[in-house]
Protein backbone atom coordinates (compact mmCIF):
# COMPACT_ATOMS: atom_id res chain seq x y z
CA UNK A 1 0.00 0.00 0.00
CA UNK A 2 1.21 3.48 -0.70
CA UNK A 3 1.34 5.80 2.28
CA UNK A 4 1.08 8.92 0.17
CA UNK A 5 -0.18 9.13 -3.39
CA UNK A 6 -0.83 12.23 -5.45
CA UNK A 7 -2.63 12.49 -8.77
CA UNK A 8 -1.84 15.47 -10.96
CA UNK A 9 -1.63 18.01 -8.14
CA UNK A 10 -1.74 21.61 -9.37
CA UNK A 11 -1.39 24.69 -7.19
CA UNK A 12 -1.69 28.16 -8.65
CA UNK A 13 -0.96 31.42 -6.88
CA UNK A 14 -2.95 33.82 -9.04
CA UNK A 15 -2.18 32.63 -12.56
CA UNK A 16 1.27 31.34 -11.71
CA UNK A 17 1.48 27.61 -11.14
CA UNK A 18 3.81 26.79 -8.25
CA UNK A 19 3.04 23.10 -8.54
CA UNK A 20 2.23 22.06 -12.08
CA UNK A 21 0.82 18.56 -12.08
CA UNK A 22 2.76 16.31 -9.72
CA UNK A 23 1.83 12.64 -9.59
CA UNK A 24 3.89 10.75 -7.08
CA UNK A 25 3.60 7.46 -5.22
CA UNK A 26 5.40 6.96 -1.94
CA UNK A 27 5.18 3.35 -0.72
CA UNK A 28 4.95 2.46 2.96
CA UNK A 29 8.21 2.93 4.81
CA UNK A 30 10.05 4.66 1.98
CA UNK A 31 12.40 7.59 2.43
CA UNK A 32 11.47 9.82 -0.49
CA UNK A 33 13.47 12.96 -1.17
CA UNK A 34 12.06 15.88 -3.15
CA UNK A 35 15.08 17.59 -4.65
CA UNK A 36 15.02 20.83 -6.56
CA UNK A 37 16.31 24.40 -6.71
CA UNK A 38 14.77 27.20 -4.62
CA UNK A 39 11.33 28.16 -5.84
CA UNK A 40 10.74 24.93 -7.76
CA UNK A 41 7.53 24.20 -5.82
CA UNK A 42 8.79 21.39 -3.61
CA UNK A 43 7.91 23.10 -0.34
CA UNK A 44 4.49 24.12 -1.66
CA UNK A 45 3.88 20.51 -2.62
CA UNK A 46 4.83 19.40 0.90
CA UNK A 47 2.47 21.98 2.42
CA UNK A 48 -0.32 20.64 0.22
CA UNK A 49 0.28 17.12 1.53
CA UNK A 50 0.01 18.21 5.15
CA UNK A 51 -2.93 20.52 4.43
CA UNK A 52 -1.39 23.93 5.08
CA UNK A 53 -2.15 24.77 1.45
CA UNK A 54 -5.13 23.65 -0.59
CA UNK A 55 -4.35 22.37 -4.09
CA UNK A 56 -6.08 24.05 -7.04
CA UNK A 57 -6.80 20.65 -8.56
CA UNK A 58 -5.72 17.04 -8.28
CA UNK A 59 -6.21 14.28 -5.73
CA UNK A 60 -4.23 13.51 -2.60
CA UNK A 61 -4.43 10.11 -0.91
CA UNK A 62 -2.90 9.40 2.48
CA UNK A 63 -3.02 5.83 3.75
CA UNK A 64 -5.36 4.97 0.90
CA UNK A 65 -8.00 7.62 1.67
CA UNK A 66 -8.70 10.74 -0.31
CA UNK A 67 -7.96 13.65 2.03
CA UNK A 68 -8.41 16.57 -0.37
CA UNK A 69 -10.88 18.37 1.89
CA UNK A 70 -9.69 17.22 5.29
CA UNK A 71 -8.11 19.78 7.63
CA UNK A 72 -4.45 19.19 8.62
CA UNK A 73 -5.35 17.68 11.98
CA UNK A 74 -7.41 14.91 10.36
CA UNK A 75 -4.75 13.83 7.88
CA UNK A 76 -2.49 11.85 10.20
CA UNK A 77 0.72 13.37 8.89
CA UNK A 78 3.41 15.09 10.91
CA UNK A 79 5.70 17.81 9.68
CA UNK A 80 9.01 19.14 10.83
CA UNK A 81 9.79 22.67 9.77
CA UNK A 82 12.94 24.39 8.64
CA UNK A 83 13.23 26.33 11.90
CA UNK A 84 11.58 23.43 13.78
CA UNK A 85 8.63 25.55 14.97
CA UNK A 86 9.04 24.52 18.60
CA UNK A 87 6.70 26.24 21.06
CA UNK A 88 9.01 28.55 23.03
CA UNK A 89 6.70 28.90 26.03
CA UNK A 90 6.42 25.15 26.59
CA UNK A 91 8.95 22.78 28.09
CA UNK A 92 10.29 20.00 25.89
CA UNK A 93 7.83 17.62 27.57
CA UNK A 94 4.83 19.82 26.73
CA UNK A 95 6.16 20.37 23.21
CA UNK A 96 6.25 16.65 22.56
CA UNK A 97 2.89 16.12 24.25
CA UNK A 98 1.11 18.84 22.27
CA UNK A 99 0.07 16.72 19.22
CA UNK A 100 -1.39 14.15 21.63
CA UNK A 101 -3.23 16.75 23.68
CA UNK A 102 -4.92 18.08 20.56
CA UNK A 103 -6.15 14.54 19.86
CA UNK A 104 -7.51 14.32 23.43
CA UNK A 105 -5.34 11.33 24.28
CA UNK A 106 -5.70 10.38 27.99
CA UNK A 107 -3.00 11.79 30.30
CA UNK A 108 -1.44 8.46 31.29
CA UNK A 109 -1.01 7.45 27.69
CA UNK A 110 0.47 10.85 26.83
CA UNK A 111 3.12 10.35 29.52
CA UNK A 112 3.94 6.90 28.23
CA UNK A 113 4.31 8.06 24.64
CA UNK A 114 6.37 11.11 25.58
CA UNK A 115 8.72 8.79 27.48
CA UNK A 116 8.95 6.50 24.47
CA UNK A 117 9.64 9.30 21.99
CA UNK A 118 12.17 11.04 24.21
CA UNK A 119 14.06 7.81 24.77
CA UNK A 120 14.06 7.14 21.03
CA UNK A 121 15.97 10.38 20.51
CA UNK A 122 18.01 10.38 23.71
CA UNK A 123 16.46 13.57 25.08
CA UNK A 124 14.93 12.21 28.30
CA UNK A 125 17.21 14.43 30.35
CA UNK A 126 15.98 17.56 28.56
CA UNK A 127 12.25 17.16 29.19
CA UNK A 128 11.93 20.02 31.68
CA UNK A 129 13.94 22.53 29.64
CA UNK A 130 12.60 25.14 27.27
CA UNK A 131 13.58 25.26 23.58
CA UNK A 132 15.78 28.33 24.01
CA UNK A 133 17.99 26.37 26.43
CA UNK A 134 18.77 23.72 23.82
CA UNK A 135 21.48 23.47 21.18
CA UNK A 136 20.62 23.24 17.48
CA UNK A 137 21.02 19.48 17.40
CA UNK A 138 18.89 19.01 20.52
CA UNK A 139 16.14 21.18 19.07
CA UNK A 140 16.09 19.04 15.98
CA UNK A 141 15.68 15.91 18.08
CA UNK A 142 12.84 17.50 20.05
CA UNK A 143 11.14 18.47 16.81
CA UNK A 144 11.51 14.91 15.50
CA UNK A 145 10.18 13.46 18.74
CA UNK A 146 7.18 15.80 18.58
CA UNK A 147 6.52 14.80 14.99
CA UNK A 148 6.76 11.07 15.67
CA UNK A 149 5.01 10.85 19.03
CA UNK A 150 1.59 10.30 17.51
CA UNK A 151 2.92 7.71 15.04
CA UNK A 152 1.92 9.49 11.82
CA UNK A 153 1.14 7.79 8.52
CA UNK A 154 3.81 9.94 6.94
CA UNK A 155 6.51 12.25 8.24
CA UNK A 156 7.20 15.38 6.21
CA UNK A 157 10.52 17.19 6.61
CA UNK A 158 11.06 20.62 5.11
CA UNK A 159 14.80 21.37 4.75
CA UNK A 160 15.43 20.32 8.34
CA UNK A 161 19.21 20.65 8.17
CA UNK A 162 19.50 24.13 6.70
CA UNK A 163 19.63 25.75 10.15
CA UNK A 164 22.62 23.72 11.29
CA UNK A 165 26.27 24.51 10.66
CA UNK A 166 28.20 22.32 8.24
CA UNK A 167 29.76 20.10 10.89
CA UNK A 168 26.52 19.36 12.70
CA UNK A 169 24.74 18.80 9.40
CA UNK A 170 26.69 15.66 8.59
CA UNK A 171 25.91 14.03 11.93
CA UNK A 172 22.28 15.18 11.87
CA UNK A 173 21.91 13.65 8.40
CA UNK A 174 23.12 10.34 9.70
CA UNK A 175 20.85 10.58 12.73
CA UNK A 176 17.70 11.23 10.71
CA UNK A 177 18.47 8.39 8.35
CA UNK A 178 19.19 5.97 11.19
CA UNK A 179 16.04 6.74 13.14
CA UNK A 180 13.98 6.49 9.95
CA UNK A 181 15.32 3.02 9.28
CA UNK A 182 14.73 2.01 12.88
CA UNK A 183 11.15 3.31 13.08
CA UNK A 184 10.31 2.61 9.46
CA UNK A 185 8.02 5.61 9.10
CA UNK A 186 7.22 6.77 5.58
CA UNK A 187 9.19 9.97 5.10
CA UNK A 188 9.05 12.75 2.55
CA UNK A 189 12.08 14.96 2.78
CA UNK A 190 12.43 18.26 0.95
CA UNK A 191 15.88 19.65 0.20
CA UNK A 192 17.83 21.61 -2.37
CA UNK A 193 21.04 19.89 -1.29
CA UNK A 194 21.96 17.00 -3.58
CA UNK A 195 24.36 15.56 -1.03
CA UNK A 196 21.48 15.12 1.44
CA UNK A 197 19.30 13.71 -1.33
CA UNK A 198 21.88 11.21 -2.58
CA UNK A 199 22.94 10.16 0.88
CA UNK A 200 19.54 9.72 2.50
CA UNK A 201 16.92 8.96 -0.11
CA UNK A 202 15.62 5.50 -0.96
CA UNK A 203 14.30 7.32 -4.00
CA UNK A 204 14.65 10.87 -5.21
CA UNK A 205 12.11 12.97 -7.10
CA UNK A 206 13.86 15.78 -8.93
CA UNK A 207 11.52 18.75 -9.27
CA UNK A 208 11.83 21.85 -11.42
CA UNK A 209 9.27 24.53 -12.22
CA UNK A 210 6.55 22.63 -10.39
CA UNK A 211 7.05 19.38 -12.30
CA UNK A 212 8.72 16.10 -11.49
CA UNK A 213 11.57 15.66 -13.94
CA UNK A 214 12.61 12.20 -12.78
CA UNK A 215 11.90 9.74 -9.98
CA UNK A 216 14.43 7.07 -9.18
CA UNK A 217 17.01 5.68 -6.82
CA UNK A 218 20.08 7.86 -6.25
CA UNK A 219 21.98 5.58 -8.64
CA UNK A 220 19.41 5.97 -11.41
CA UNK A 221 19.26 9.72 -10.96
CA UNK A 222 23.02 10.04 -11.12
CA UNK A 223 23.85 7.49 -13.81
CA UNK A 224 20.83 7.84 -16.06
CA UNK A 225 19.45 11.35 -15.78
CA UNK A 226 16.19 11.68 -17.68
CA UNK A 227 16.98 15.08 -19.12
CA UNK A 228 19.53 17.87 -19.23
CA UNK A 229 18.11 19.54 -16.10
CA UNK A 230 18.58 16.47 -13.92
CA UNK A 231 21.99 15.84 -15.49
CA UNK A 232 23.28 19.28 -14.63
CA UNK A 233 21.46 19.70 -11.28
CA UNK A 234 22.88 16.56 -9.71
CA UNK A 235 26.62 16.08 -9.45
CA UNK A 236 29.52 18.30 -8.43
CA UNK A 237 30.75 19.46 -10.84
CA UNK A 238 27.65 18.80 -12.99
CA UNK A 239 27.57 16.57 -16.05
CA UNK A 240 29.32 18.00 -19.11
CA UNK A 241 26.84 18.71 -21.90
CA UNK A 242 28.09 19.52 -25.41
CA UNK A 243 26.04 20.08 -28.56
CA UNK A 244 26.38 17.37 -31.17
CA UNK A 245 24.46 16.53 -34.35
CA UNK A 246 21.44 18.65 -33.35
CA UNK A 247 21.25 16.96 -29.96
CA UNK A 248 23.44 16.87 -26.91
CA UNK A 249 26.16 14.62 -25.63
CA UNK A 250 26.69 14.25 -21.90
CA UNK A 251 29.38 12.71 -19.70
CA UNK A 252 30.31 12.98 -16.03
CA UNK A 253 33.57 14.84 -15.21
CA UNK A 254 34.97 11.78 -13.40
CA UNK A 255 34.50 9.70 -16.56
CA UNK A 256 36.38 12.24 -18.68
CA UNK A 257 39.98 11.10 -18.30
CA UNK A 258 43.33 11.23 -20.05
CA UNK A 259 43.34 8.65 -22.84
CA UNK A 260 46.14 6.62 -21.29
CA UNK A 261 44.17 6.13 -18.05
CA UNK A 262 41.44 4.19 -19.87
CA UNK A 263 42.05 0.70 -21.15
CA UNK A 264 40.36 -0.83 -24.17
CA UNK A 265 39.11 0.71 -27.38
CA UNK A 266 35.36 1.19 -26.71
CA UNK A 267 35.91 4.87 -26.05
CA UNK A 268 35.13 8.26 -27.52
CA UNK A 269 38.27 10.32 -27.86
CA UNK A 270 38.53 14.10 -27.56
CA UNK A 271 41.22 16.67 -27.88
CA UNK A 272 41.03 18.78 -24.72
CA UNK A 273 42.62 22.21 -24.23
CA UNK A 274 43.30 22.87 -20.55
CA UNK A 275 42.40 26.40 -19.36
CA UNK A 276 42.57 26.08 -15.61
CA UNK A 277 43.36 23.44 -13.04
CA UNK A 278 42.25 23.32 -9.38
CA UNK A 279 43.86 21.02 -6.87
CA UNK A 280 41.34 20.00 -4.17
CA UNK A 281 43.39 17.43 -2.29
CA UNK A 282 41.61 14.21 -3.11
CA UNK A 283 40.98 15.28 -6.67
CA UNK A 284 41.94 17.74 -9.35
CA UNK A 285 39.31 19.66 -11.32
CA UNK A 286 40.46 20.67 -14.80
CA UNK A 287 38.53 23.19 -16.91
CA UNK A 288 38.92 23.52 -20.66
CA UNK A 289 37.31 23.21 -24.10
CA UNK A 290 37.03 20.40 -26.65
CA UNK A 291 38.38 20.66 -30.18
CA UNK A 292 35.62 20.56 -32.75
CA UNK A 293 32.88 21.70 -30.33
CA UNK A 294 31.51 25.05 -29.26
CA UNK A 295 34.60 26.93 -27.99
CA UNK A 296 32.46 28.68 -25.32
CA UNK A 297 31.25 25.40 -23.82
CA UNK A 298 33.42 24.80 -20.76
CA UNK A 299 34.10 21.13 -20.06
CA UNK A 300 35.35 19.88 -16.71
CA UNK A 301 37.36 16.82 -15.85
CA UNK A 302 37.62 15.39 -12.33
CA UNK A 303 40.92 13.55 -12.01
CA UNK A 304 42.13 11.52 -9.05
CA UNK A 305 44.51 13.96 -7.36
CA UNK A 306 47.19 11.43 -6.47
CA UNK A 307 47.50 10.11 -9.99
CA UNK A 308 47.96 13.29 -11.95
CA UNK A 309 50.99 15.37 -11.24
CA UNK A 310 50.89 19.15 -11.34
CA UNK A 311 53.44 19.34 -14.16
CA UNK A 312 51.62 16.94 -16.45
CA UNK A 313 48.59 19.22 -16.93
CA UNK A 314 49.22 22.90 -17.56
CA UNK A 315 46.94 25.65 -18.87
CA UNK A 316 47.19 26.13 -22.63
CA UNK A 317 48.25 22.58 -23.40
CA UNK A 318 46.27 20.17 -25.57
CA UNK A 319 45.78 16.66 -24.26
CA UNK A 320 44.20 13.48 -25.54
CA UNK A 321 41.18 12.71 -23.34
CA UNK A 322 38.53 10.03 -23.63
CA UNK A 323 35.23 8.78 -22.23
CA UNK A 324 34.17 5.14 -22.16
CA UNK A 325 31.31 4.59 -24.58
CA UNK A 326 29.08 3.21 -21.82
CA UNK A 327 29.53 6.45 -19.86
CA UNK A 328 28.19 8.62 -22.69
CA UNK A 329 24.62 9.92 -22.46
CA UNK A 330 22.63 11.32 -25.37
CA UNK A 331 19.88 13.94 -25.25
CA UNK A 332 17.66 15.17 -28.09
CA UNK A 333 17.31 18.82 -29.06
CA UNK A 334 14.70 19.37 -26.29
CA UNK A 335 17.10 17.98 -23.73
CA UNK A 336 15.37 14.64 -23.10
CA UNK A 337 17.41 11.47 -22.93
CA UNK A 338 17.24 9.49 -26.17
CA UNK A 339 19.10 6.29 -25.40
CA UNK A 340 21.32 4.89 -22.74
CA UNK A 341 24.48 4.22 -24.66
Amino acid sequence: MSAVLTRDIVKKFGDVPAVNGISLTVPDGEFMVLLGPSGCGKTTFLRIICGLEQQTSGDLLIGGNIVNDLPPRARGVAMMFQSYGLYPHYTVRKNIAFPLRTQRVPGAEINKKVEWASQLFGISHLLERRPRQLSGGERQRVALARALVREPTALLLDEPLSNLDAKLRASARLEIKQFQQRVGVTTIYVTHDQVEAMGMGDRIAVIDHGRVRQVGTPGEIYDDPADRFVATFVGTPPMNIVAKNGGYLGFRPENFLPREMIEGSAVAEFSFRVDRSEYLGSERIVYGVLEGFDPNQIVTAKLPGAHVAEESIRPGEWHAFAVRNNALRFFDKDGNRTSRH
Binding site: Y84, G85, P88, H89
Partner: protein
Protein backbone atom coordinates in the same frame (compact mmCIF):
# COMPACT_ATOMS: atom_id res chain seq x y z
CA UNK B 1 63.51 63.87 2.81
CA UNK B 2 59.93 63.65 4.02
CA UNK B 3 59.24 63.25 7.68
CA UNK B 4 57.16 60.11 8.23
CA UNK B 5 55.07 61.32 11.15
CA UNK B 6 54.05 64.92 11.64
CA UNK B 7 53.82 65.76 15.32
CA UNK B 8 50.16 65.82 16.33
CA UNK B 9 48.97 69.29 17.22
CA UNK B 10 48.37 69.69 20.95
CA UNK B 11 44.72 70.44 21.79
CA UNK B 12 44.14 74.14 22.17
CA UNK B 13 42.39 73.69 25.49
CA UNK B 14 42.29 70.81 27.99
CA UNK B 15 38.47 70.77 27.61
CA UNK B 16 38.52 70.34 23.85
CA UNK B 17 38.02 66.55 23.93
CA UNK B 18 36.04 66.52 27.15
CA UNK B 19 32.89 65.19 25.47
CA UNK B 20 34.83 62.33 23.92
CA UNK B 21 35.27 60.86 27.36
CA UNK B 22 32.56 58.34 27.94
CA UNK B 23 31.89 59.06 31.61
CA UNK B 24 31.52 62.78 30.91
CA UNK B 25 29.23 62.23 27.94
CA UNK B 26 27.10 59.78 29.94
CA UNK B 27 26.60 62.31 32.69
CA UNK B 28 25.78 65.13 30.27
CA UNK B 29 23.21 63.08 28.38
CA UNK B 30 21.46 61.57 31.39
CA UNK B 31 21.30 64.69 33.55
CA UNK B 32 18.26 66.37 31.87
CA UNK B 33 16.17 63.25 32.50
CA UNK B 34 17.26 63.03 36.12
CA UNK B 35 16.67 66.74 36.63
CA UNK B 36 13.23 66.47 35.08
CA UNK B 37 12.20 63.48 37.17
CA UNK B 38 13.55 65.04 40.34
CA UNK B 39 11.97 68.47 39.88
CA UNK B 40 8.60 67.51 38.38
CA UNK B 41 8.01 64.09 39.95
CA UNK B 42 10.32 63.69 42.93
CA UNK B 43 9.76 67.06 44.63
CA UNK B 44 5.95 67.06 44.35
CA UNK B 45 5.95 63.46 45.55
CA UNK B 46 8.03 64.31 48.64
CA UNK B 47 5.85 67.37 49.18
CA UNK B 48 2.72 65.21 49.00
CA UNK B 49 4.17 62.84 51.59
CA UNK B 50 4.91 65.80 53.83
CA UNK B 51 1.42 67.31 53.39
CA UNK B 52 -0.17 63.96 54.15
CA UNK B 53 1.35 63.82 57.64
CA UNK B 54 0.63 67.48 58.41
CA UNK B 55 -2.50 69.49 59.22
CA UNK B 56 -2.04 71.79 56.22
CA UNK B 57 -5.16 73.43 54.72
CA UNK B 58 -5.43 76.39 52.38
CA UNK B 59 -7.09 78.38 55.18
CA UNK B 60 -4.67 77.28 57.87
CA UNK B 61 -1.28 76.70 56.20
CA UNK B 62 0.35 75.10 59.23
CA UNK B 63 3.10 72.51 59.02
CA UNK B 64 2.03 70.88 62.27
CA UNK B 65 2.95 67.17 62.21
CA UNK B 66 -0.02 64.85 62.88
CA UNK B 67 1.49 61.46 62.03
CA UNK B 68 -0.82 59.04 60.24
CA UNK B 69 -3.96 60.72 61.55
CA UNK B 70 -4.98 61.89 58.04
CA UNK B 71 -4.78 58.35 56.70
CA UNK B 72 -6.89 57.04 59.58
CA UNK B 73 -9.49 59.79 58.93
CA UNK B 74 -9.61 58.91 55.27
CA UNK B 75 -9.98 55.18 55.92
CA UNK B 76 -12.90 55.81 58.26
CA UNK B 77 -14.72 57.81 55.60
CA UNK B 78 -17.26 55.65 53.69
CA UNK B 79 -17.08 58.04 50.71
CA UNK B 80 -13.38 57.29 50.35
CA UNK B 81 -13.89 53.53 50.61
CA UNK B 82 -16.47 53.74 47.88
CA UNK B 83 -14.07 55.80 45.78
CA UNK B 84 -11.37 53.20 46.23
CA UNK B 85 -13.74 50.47 45.07
CA UNK B 86 -14.85 52.60 42.11
CA UNK B 87 -11.23 53.12 41.10
CA UNK B 88 -10.49 49.40 41.04
CA UNK B 89 -13.69 48.63 39.15
CA UNK B 90 -13.09 51.44 36.66
CA UNK B 91 -9.44 50.51 36.09
CA UNK B 92 -9.72 46.76 35.73
CA UNK B 93 -13.05 46.65 33.90
CA UNK B 94 -12.05 49.26 31.32
CA UNK B 95 -8.61 47.74 30.76
CA UNK B 96 -10.03 44.26 30.42
CA UNK B 97 -12.67 45.47 27.98
CA UNK B 98 -10.07 47.46 26.03
CA UNK B 99 -7.78 44.44 25.89
CA UNK B 100 -10.52 42.15 24.59
CA UNK B 101 -11.55 44.72 21.99
CA UNK B 102 -7.88 45.17 21.08
CA UNK B 103 -7.41 41.43 20.59
CA UNK B 104 -10.36 41.11 18.25
CA UNK B 105 -9.49 44.35 16.49
CA UNK B 106 -5.95 43.12 15.90
CA UNK B 107 -7.20 39.84 14.46
CA UNK B 108 -9.57 41.66 12.13
CA UNK B 109 -6.82 44.03 11.03
CA UNK B 110 -4.51 41.10 10.28
CA UNK B 111 -6.89 39.86 7.59
CA UNK B 112 -6.08 41.24 4.17
CA UNK B 113 -8.83 43.49 2.83
CA UNK B 114 -9.09 46.58 0.65
CA UNK B 115 -8.28 49.76 2.54
CA UNK B 116 -6.69 47.97 5.47
CA UNK B 117 -3.95 50.57 5.76
CA UNK B 118 -6.48 53.38 6.01
CA UNK B 119 -8.50 51.50 8.64
CA UNK B 120 -5.32 50.79 10.59
CA UNK B 121 -4.53 54.50 10.60
CA UNK B 122 -8.08 55.57 11.52
CA UNK B 123 -8.35 53.10 14.37
CA UNK B 124 -5.65 55.03 16.22
CA UNK B 125 -7.95 58.08 16.46
CA UNK B 126 -9.62 57.36 19.83
CA UNK B 127 -6.20 57.24 21.38
CA UNK B 128 -4.90 60.31 19.54
CA UNK B 129 -7.89 62.64 19.96
CA UNK B 130 -7.61 64.93 23.01
CA UNK B 131 -9.66 63.41 25.78
CA UNK B 132 -11.55 66.68 26.39
CA UNK B 133 -12.92 66.69 22.82
CA UNK B 134 -13.73 63.00 22.89
CA UNK B 135 -15.54 63.26 26.19
CA UNK B 136 -17.74 66.09 24.90
CA UNK B 137 -18.75 63.84 22.01
CA UNK B 138 -19.55 61.01 24.43
CA UNK B 139 -21.52 63.44 26.58
CA UNK B 140 -23.96 63.87 23.70
CA UNK B 141 -24.16 60.15 23.20
CA UNK B 142 -25.12 59.62 26.86
CA UNK B 143 -26.99 62.92 27.45
CA UNK B 144 -30.20 62.64 29.44
CA UNK B 145 -32.29 64.52 26.89
CA UNK B 146 -30.48 64.20 23.59
CA UNK B 147 -28.81 60.78 23.93
CA UNK B 148 -28.10 59.36 20.49
CA UNK B 149 -28.45 55.84 21.84
CA UNK B 150 -31.84 56.54 23.38
CA UNK B 151 -33.03 58.32 20.24
CA UNK B 152 -32.11 55.22 18.24
CA UNK B 153 -33.70 52.84 20.72
CA UNK B 154 -36.92 54.88 20.76
CA UNK B 155 -36.98 55.15 16.97
CA UNK B 156 -36.59 51.39 16.74
CA UNK B 157 -39.45 50.98 19.21
CA UNK B 158 -37.34 49.05 21.72
CA UNK B 159 -37.94 51.52 24.57
CA UNK B 160 -40.32 54.40 25.10
CA UNK B 161 -39.28 57.92 25.99
CA UNK B 162 -40.55 57.37 29.52
CA UNK B 163 -38.44 54.35 30.39
CA UNK B 164 -35.37 55.23 28.31
CA UNK B 165 -32.21 54.69 30.38
CA UNK B 166 -30.78 57.74 32.07
CA UNK B 167 -27.16 56.93 31.27
CA UNK B 168 -25.35 59.45 33.39
CA UNK B 169 -28.12 59.81 35.96
CA UNK B 170 -28.23 56.32 37.53
CA UNK B 171 -25.20 55.08 39.48
CA UNK B 172 -24.65 51.72 37.73
CA UNK B 173 -25.11 53.10 34.23
CA UNK B 174 -22.86 56.09 34.88
CA UNK B 175 -20.04 53.73 35.93
CA UNK B 176 -20.69 51.65 32.81
CA UNK B 177 -20.45 54.83 30.70
CA UNK B 178 -17.03 55.88 31.99
CA UNK B 179 -15.77 52.28 31.69
CA UNK B 180 -16.90 52.16 28.06
CA UNK B 181 -15.31 55.50 27.25
CA UNK B 182 -12.01 54.54 28.84
CA UNK B 183 -12.01 51.15 27.10
CA UNK B 184 -12.74 52.96 23.83
CA UNK B 185 -9.79 55.20 24.51
CA UNK B 186 -7.48 52.32 25.42
CA UNK B 187 -8.32 49.77 22.74
CA UNK B 188 -6.33 51.33 19.82
CA UNK B 189 -3.26 51.06 22.01
CA UNK B 190 -4.16 47.44 22.75
CA UNK B 191 -4.58 46.79 19.02
CA UNK B 192 -1.11 48.14 18.32
CA UNK B 193 0.33 45.98 21.11
CA UNK B 194 -1.42 42.85 19.86
CA UNK B 195 -0.52 43.52 16.22
CA UNK B 196 3.13 43.90 17.13
CA UNK B 197 3.00 40.73 19.20
CA UNK B 198 1.14 38.57 16.72
CA UNK B 199 3.30 39.55 13.75
CA UNK B 200 6.35 38.60 15.82
CA UNK B 201 5.14 35.00 16.24
CA UNK B 202 7.06 32.91 13.67
CA UNK B 203 4.86 31.42 10.94
CA UNK B 204 6.61 28.07 11.39
CA UNK B 205 5.33 27.84 14.96
CA UNK B 206 1.75 28.55 13.90
CA UNK B 207 2.04 26.07 11.01
CA UNK B 208 3.50 23.47 13.35
CA UNK B 209 0.54 23.88 15.70
CA UNK B 210 -1.87 23.52 12.77
CA UNK B 211 -0.25 20.29 11.59
CA UNK B 212 -0.04 19.06 15.19
CA UNK B 213 -3.81 19.18 15.19
CA UNK B 214 -4.63 22.51 16.82
CA UNK B 215 -7.73 24.26 15.52
CA UNK B 216 -8.30 28.02 15.52
CA UNK B 217 -9.09 28.38 19.24
CA UNK B 218 -6.33 26.12 20.48
CA UNK B 219 -3.79 27.88 18.22
CA UNK B 220 -4.97 31.14 19.66
CA UNK B 221 -5.14 30.43 23.34
CA UNK B 222 -2.42 27.80 23.76
CA UNK B 223 0.17 29.10 21.30
CA UNK B 224 -0.26 32.71 20.18
CA UNK B 225 -1.58 34.33 23.35
CA UNK B 226 0.98 32.73 25.70
CA UNK B 227 3.75 33.73 23.29
CA UNK B 228 2.71 37.37 23.16
CA UNK B 229 1.83 37.59 26.86
CA UNK B 230 5.01 39.46 27.88
CA UNK B 231 4.36 42.26 25.41
CA UNK B 232 0.68 42.36 26.37
CA UNK B 233 1.70 42.61 30.03
CA UNK B 234 3.77 45.71 29.23
CA UNK B 235 0.76 47.25 27.51
CA UNK B 236 -1.43 46.37 30.46
CA UNK B 237 0.98 48.01 32.93
CA UNK B 238 0.70 51.23 30.96
CA UNK B 239 -3.07 50.94 30.79
CA UNK B 240 -3.51 50.22 34.49
CA UNK B 241 -1.10 52.91 35.66
CA UNK B 242 -2.65 55.57 33.45
CA UNK B 243 -6.21 54.60 34.26
CA UNK B 244 -5.68 54.25 37.99
CA UNK B 245 -4.32 57.79 38.23
CA UNK B 246 -6.66 59.33 35.67
CA UNK B 247 -9.41 61.77 36.51
CA UNK B 248 -10.11 63.45 33.16
CA UNK B 249 -13.13 61.44 32.02
CA UNK B 250 -14.80 61.61 35.44
CA UNK B 251 -13.99 65.29 35.78
CA UNK B 252 -15.38 66.15 32.34
CA UNK B 253 -18.37 63.83 32.18
CA UNK B 254 -19.88 63.03 35.58
CA UNK B 255 -18.04 65.11 38.17
CA UNK B 256 -17.98 62.00 40.31
CA UNK B 257 -21.78 61.78 40.32
CA UNK B 258 -24.44 60.74 40.67
CA UNK B 259 -23.86 60.85 44.42
CA UNK B 260 -20.21 59.77 44.22
CA UNK B 261 -20.99 56.69 42.13
CA UNK B 262 -18.23 57.42 39.62
CA UNK B 263 -15.75 59.17 41.87
CA UNK B 264 -12.21 57.81 41.51
CA UNK B 265 -9.05 58.37 43.58
CA UNK B 266 -7.55 61.08 41.40
CA UNK B 267 -10.83 62.97 41.28
CA UNK B 268 -11.47 62.61 45.02
CA UNK B 269 -7.96 63.78 45.85
CA UNK B 270 -8.47 66.80 43.62
CA UNK B 271 -11.87 67.58 45.15
CA UNK B 272 -10.70 67.35 48.74
CA UNK B 273 -7.18 68.71 48.38
CA UNK B 274 -7.61 71.48 45.79
CA UNK B 275 -11.30 72.32 45.41
CA UNK B 276 -12.09 72.13 49.15
CA UNK B 277 -8.66 73.27 50.24
CA UNK B 278 -8.00 70.40 52.68
CA UNK B 279 -4.54 69.77 51.26
CA UNK B 280 -3.46 67.30 53.97
CA UNK B 281 -6.39 64.90 53.45
CA UNK B 282 -6.22 65.31 49.67
CA UNK B 283 -2.57 64.30 49.75
CA UNK B 284 -3.38 61.30 51.92
CA UNK B 285 -6.09 60.17 49.46
CA UNK B 286 -3.75 60.51 46.49
CA UNK B 287 -1.00 58.57 48.22
CA UNK B 288 -3.28 55.52 48.41
CA UNK B 289 -2.49 55.04 44.71
CA UNK B 290 1.13 54.40 45.50
CA UNK B 291 1.06 50.92 47.10
CA UNK B 292 -1.46 49.67 44.55
CA UNK B 293 0.62 50.85 41.59
CA UNK B 294 3.81 49.51 43.15
CA UNK B 295 2.29 46.08 43.56
CA UNK B 296 0.94 46.07 40.01
CA UNK B 297 4.21 47.20 38.43
CA UNK B 298 6.46 44.93 40.47
CA UNK B 299 4.19 41.94 39.92
CA UNK B 300 4.02 42.48 36.16
CA UNK B 301 7.75 43.06 35.78
CA UNK B 302 8.54 39.91 37.74
CA UNK B 303 6.12 37.98 35.57
CA UNK B 304 7.78 39.25 32.39
CA UNK B 305 11.25 38.42 33.66
CA UNK B 306 10.20 34.91 34.58
CA UNK B 307 8.78 34.38 31.11
CA UNK B 308 11.99 35.42 29.42
CA UNK B 309 14.23 32.90 31.14
Amino acid sequence: MVSIAEPIAKPASPFRFLLDRREVLNAVLISPAILYVFLLVGLPFLLAIYYSVSAYTLYDPTWRFVGIQNFLDVLKNPVFLRTLGNTFLFTFASNFLGLVMGKFGAFLLLQPFRGRRIVRALVILPWAVPIALATIAWEWIFDSLYSVINWTLIALGIVTRADAPNWLGSPGLAMLCIIIINAWRFFPFAIVIFLAGITAVPQDVIDAATVDGAGFWRRNYQIIVPMILPIVAIGLIFGIVFTFTDLSIVFLLTNGGPAGATSVLGFEGFQVGIASGDVAHGAAISLFMLPVLLVVVIGMLRFIRRREI
